[in-house]
């Protein structure tokens, strides 16, 4: 009986002493933290995707608190998050639109039953090295595709994506806009710089990155941009420019009318509405009732 009492007393005493030491230490080593830090952390999604350029949500919250980072860098949180953070910091934030990744390549490979290429980029050689896009671009001839700019489809972006939002389908990477948080981790690993951030739900996108001359592009891929400039000429807003044999949309001017998609000879400008709206004039008047087609 006596032994049990001693054991309880000793261990209880030890626990008490350590408890006291710890509570004293917590006073001595007390570090003051700004209560706003916790509030900022609560606003952020907590996904730690790193899209803002900081190690995680905590790192970004601290940088905002110190005034080192701007509000609105969190793609995943979007406008709601930016406004909430601005309210905590007592400043005004501009409206932030959500962005998702877009792979600027249409070279989806389809074959007929004899194995002849119907659409997409031509494969000029078989690659059997590390199944990684960067490694594939380092071999002679800059990889297995005839197109020097297109998606290689070895899935480096798929591996980089923490959210399973980007998958390789028929040889090229495709983004699931519902799953994408816009961290752009995929863009950082793509050796060909194909992936850019766009607003989700955009109808009109130019999905090609080929800066080769038209004839070279055509030899390499059935759906490559040849820089013909038809889209540039039809665009009522002057949103499209052709530089280095490649058409590029300036989204600050684009109003999603979809005219360019109707004229693209290579059908690589994607417009989700194009099939339902056959007449360019109708499409344009839908978006700009007052304007005339050029």
């Amino acid at each position: 009986m006596f032994e049990i009492v001693i054991a309880i007393a000793i261990l209880g005493g030890l626990g008490l002493i350590f408890g006291l030491v710890l509570s004293a230490a917590s006073k001595v080593f007390y570090v003051e933290t700004d209560p706003r830090l916790d509030q900022l952390n609560e606003c952020l999604p907590g996904a730690n995707c790193g899209g803002c350029g900081y190690a995680g949500c905590g790192g970004y919250a601290e940088a905002v608190l110190k005034g080192e980072a701007e509000i609105g860098k969190c793609n995943s949180g979007g406008n709601e998050c930016a406004q909430a953070m601005a309210a905590i910091m007592g400043i005004k934030a501009e409206a932030v639109t959500r962005k998702v990744a877009l792979v600027r390549c249409s070279g989806e490979k389809t074959y007929d039953k004899d194995g002849n290429l119907l659409t997409g980029a031509r494969v000029k050689a078989n690659y059997e090295g590390f199944m990684d896009c960067l490694s594939a671009t380092k071999v002679g001839g800059r990889g297995p595709l005839s197109c020097k700019y297109g998606c290689l489809g070895f899935g480096s972006c798929t591996k980089a994506c923490k959210y399973g939002a980007i998958k390789v389908v028929n040889g090229i990477a495709k983004v699931d806009e519902d799953l994408c948080v816009g961290c752009m981790a995929c863009a950082q690993v793509c050796p060909r710089g194909l992936i850019v951030a766009v607003e989700p739900g955009r109808n009109v996108v130019i999905a090609c990155n080929s800066m080769a001359k038209g004839a070279v592009t055509t030899r390499g891929c059935t759906v490559g941009c040849i820089g013909c400039g038809l889209c540039k000429r039809i665009c009522p807003n002057g949103a499209i420019t052709v530089t280095n044999n490649l058409a590029v949309i300036d989204y600050s001017k684009c109003d999603n009318c979809g005219l360019c998609a109707t004229v693209c000879p290579k059908k690589l400008i994607k417009d989700s509405n194009v099939e339902n709206l056959p007449d360019p004039a109708v499409i344009h008047s839908r978006n700009n009732p007052d304007a005339k087609v050029k």
């Binding site: 261990l11 030890l14 626990g15 030491v21 710890l22 230490a25 080593f29 590390f130 199944m131």
Partner: protein
């Protein structure tokens, strides 16, 4: 002096806590994806193991042994280790915030690292004196660091390789750990005295 050297060699190689005694496998698998975090974890564990060896020797020698409470060793030592980790955490947060941030969540997790409890219990079982206990703790921690850094560097290479799909991730890591342990078995005959 020779005995001390023997203990250091044993704790580092032939009786390595992870790869020969299989203590502390949890951080060994969990924190070995990157070499720098593995090194940080190793250094923190080394520090805690040395400190815990010292504190537990005092508690054992002056409290438990005189009062015939040897059977309470495990419980008492866990109490000591948990408190030490807490104090170390608070101290680092105040004094070296950079290191505190670098270690992050691994710091409190050292409490549950069984290599720390293991080294303390070994000290008592072998009847080491105060100095030898601390040396054994520090060398054991360095052995832990050696193993985890070696493992992290191998994993960094394995990540770049292309194992069959069913082996990707943890399966190949476990096999790697097994082969590394096998290699360390080669030290088992190593004794200088």
């Amino acid at each position: 002096m020779e005995a001390i050297l023997g203990i250091i060699i044993a704790a580092l190689l032939s009786q390595n806590f992870i790869l020969v005694k299989f203590y502390g496998i949890c951080p060994f698998m969990g924190v070995s994806k990157k070499i720098d975090t593995a090194l940080g974890m190793g250094m923190a564990v080394t520090f805690v193991m040395a400190l815990a060896s010292a504190a537990c020797w005092v508690v054992n020698e002056f409290l438990l042994v005189p009062l015939n409470l040897g059977y309470m060793q495990t419980v008492a030592f866990i109490l000591v280790i948990a408190s030490i980790v807490q104090v170390v955490e608070m101290f680092l947060k105040k004094a070296v915030p950079a290191l505190y941030k670098a270690l992050g969540v691994f710091l409190p997790l050292i409490t549950t690292n069984c290599a720390v409890l293991g080294v303390v219990l070994v000290n008592v079982q072998e009847g080491y004196n105060f100095l030898i206990s601390v040396i054994n703790g520090a060398a054991g921690g360095l052995g832990f660091t050696l193993a985890i850094v070696l493992f992290a560097s191998i994993r960094a290479r394995v990540d770049k390789a292309n194992p069959p799909e069913c082996f990707q991730g943890f399966p190949i890591a476990l096999i790697t750990a097994g082969l590394l342990a096998l290699a360390f078995m080669g030290f088992s005959g190593l004794s200088i005295f």
